[in-house]
Symmetry: C2
Subunit: 436 residues, 2 copies
């Protein structure tokens, strides 16, 4: 039986999970592919303490460059994270003619163009299924399963920590900061939660999904990103009352004007399947012209779910490594010469519906003032909640749902509304998508 | 640019959809794969009336054998359905060294072993993504996306007509026969609805999923099949009261004793995502050892959703056709020499929980009699509903949920319960799965 030699960089959560899955499911994997996948060289800090790999069968080192320079290694698996040393190691592996598998979303989102260019030049494969939505085979679905389609949009819950927080806020009426603290204690959220709650991690993944969907270069710097730290219990409750759930979505959409790439809290109808994806789970909804909507759900993080994607990539690479370019899936799903330069839109140009919440004086004519401003900007109002004032209060919360509007028009309307005497403080706005 | 020549058999709903998608998305598909897919020969009854294919570019015939014998054709796409002439055409195409793409679940479920054997002998590919769950790329997910895993079980809503009927029964409190009539009028259900409502169509698909999951030969004749025609509004309502939904599931599960392959109505907890898959939509939930649960959702039928899967297969075959066996995905997901002969279990050996409904005399000791019978068979009762008798009634409905039990023990218990004087008529039983 043919044996494919793997060099493993990193033995942390995902690296350990990958080594474990490769060993435990060795026979099942061989039954599928008719060859064996052997880790022959591994590098990690403090690798002397590891207990998964057998030192009799696998060289161990602290120096990743030993692995990428080992002539015996066919495929380098990069599970270090970050994008300084990881980038150097991946580029060196490619230069050495090795195929690469990585779970590193930041590396691909930020340096993917450079890495894919080098890989195409060397004729090697770079696979990265684990970089988006963990164990869900979403990259394979978009790049191969939906290859017949023109993809219209993708909307995904692609950060488990954020989804856990929003789920707890909704189901247990808890506040953001309270749930975040618990998530940190449970190990779901990092000590510095910025990457998760401010949407940066989701933006890395969304950048990749957008390129796969539309055949454009990776453009992380153009991805609009808004976190969930300002979502209040009040908004969660009003959304529910109106038949919506608030989810932190990554959305990539092709319009007549260009590509929207955006990560932000979003009201979505509670009847949609994706509105019912709770806790740390991930799901990606893809709308394509022939198949319509399809959804992919599963664990977006964790040692073995992520390892599942890493090892699936290893299987694919093991199968494709002896073929020519024409028989391989293009790295970004489209042939390099067919990458499009369709523009990525500024957020001023985004088109979405809105949930708006404001505090208004409880006196006649307020709604008339507001509705006139919307009418001037050609914004329709789809629903209104205005409650009676509580005792001793002179202000009432006013909640509006609008039709789809260009963001700059909404900005203009909000500016005018905030300047009204009868409106107290700022208008809270959350984008809304029907995903139909 | 390389051009791959396609011979199309059948221009009905799916055939027409396939030709349409190939033409409409011709540029997007070429951007992805760097070659073009051209229908050069098509066969169908009354093909003179078709308006999709251009007769200047594509030979048209009423005789499918002309297509499979055309030396110019690289890939034959079989979209005729049935398993007499379709089988002959597919086998002839293989004999002629052509690759085959088919959407024909009955053909694969019943004659797949023979077809794959012939294909492996000839070194050609047979692809059948469209045969299971329409446009959802579930075969790719199971065979490739989850290749790192040992699959534990699969549970799918894989017949849209059945799901439409159960959804309407639940949401609008309608009766089975009433909804079936509407489904027939809407064109969801055939004039003879047996294939859909009695689970035969789902059993074809489940047979294929089980082989892909566990690497076993296709064994349609061993798939246990129970339809939804006996589900009553009463059962739907009680299930809801207990926090469950009734769905028609195809389930394939590997146990220590062998493989369970079964299609039947099933109570599932309403909190599960798959319990919220409504209308004609399909979804497949896969539980695997490394990744945990993943779910795949989308349209399970229709012209363009099915065409999406057919064309994705064409793309895969176009890419793999110039490679050797080792670089291709095995037809059943496992190497032919690794197919397992692990036994498929008889339904007596199935292990599931149960929902039971019976009509009992309203007098003391009834529940004691029943619970004693269950205790003797080592069956635990997890929930009971016993309502007060309605005026002028001496009998009350009694609903029980049990723990997981071997089916033969449940059969013995039900036989004893039905022999009790206090029980009127037969016990209704519906299997129950927690899918956790």
């Amino acid at each position: 039986m043919k044996s494919v030699k793997i060099g493993l960089l990193g033995l942390g959560t995902v690296g350990g999970g990958t080594a474990t899955v490769l060993l435990r499911n060795r026979d099942e994997i061989s039954r599928r592919i008719g060859c064996s996948l052997e880790v022959v060289h591994a590098a990690a800090h403090g690798i002397g303490q590891q207990t998964i790999l057998d030192p009799a069968k696998c060289k161990l080192t602290e120096d990743g460059f030993e692995v990428v320079n080992n002539p015996e290694v066919d495929i380098v698996v990069e599970l270090i994270g970050g994008y300084t040393i990881a980038r150097e190691l991946v580029l060196k592996a490619i230069e050495n003619g090795k195929h690469v598998v990585t779970a590193n979303k930041a590396l691909i989102a930020l340096h993917g163009n450079e890495i894919f260019k080098a890989a195409n030049k060397q004729g090697v494969i770079v696979a990265y299924e684990a970089a988006v939505a963990g164990g869900i085979p979403i990259i394979k679905a978009v790049r191969e399963g939906l290859a017949a389609n023109r993809i219209e949009w993708i909307a995904g819950i692609i950060n488990g920590t954020g989804n856990f927080i929003l789920t707890e806020m909704k189901e247990k009426s808890r506040d953001f900061s309270d749930v975040l603290k618990e998530a940190q204690e449970l190990g779901y959220a990092e000590a510095d939660p910025t990457f998760d709650v401010e949407g940066i991690d989701a933006a890395h993944k969304l950048t990749i999904l957008a390129s796969l969907a539309f055949g454009i270069d990776l453009q992380f710097e153009k991805t609009f990103t808004e976190g969930i730290s300002k979502i209040t219990q009040e908004d969660v409750t009003y959304a529910e009352e109106l038949g919506y759930r608030i989810k932190h979505l990554g959305i990539a959409r092709k319009t007549a004007k260009g590509i929207e790439m955006r990560v932000h809290p979003t009201l979505i109808p509670e009847k949609r399947l994706i509105a019912n994806v709770n806790g740390v789970m991930n799901a990606v909804l893809v709308k394509a012209d022939a198949v319509g909507p399809t959804l992919y759900y599963g664990a977006g993080a964790g040692a073995e779910p992520t390892a599942s994607a890493v090892v699936a990539d290893l299987v694919d690479v093991a199968r494709a490594m002896d073929t020519d370019k024409q028989s391989r899936v293009a790295l970004l799903g489209f042939q390099p010469e067919s990458i499009s330069d369709i523009p990525v839109l500024d957020h001023d140009e985004f088109e979405t519906a809105y949930y708006l919440r404001m505090l208004a004086d409880d006196r006649p004519g307020v709604l008339a003032d507001i509705t006139r401003i919307f009418a001037d900007q050609e914004i329709s109002i789809e629903a209104v909640i205005q409650k009676e004032p509580q005792e001793n209060q002179t202000c009432v919360p006013l909640i509006l749902l609008t039709s789809v509007v260009v963001e700059k028009n909404m900005n203009a309307a909000i500016k005018q509304i905030e300047s009204l005497d009868v409106i107290k403080g700022q208008v809270t706005r959350i984008r809304m998508e029907h995903l139909g």
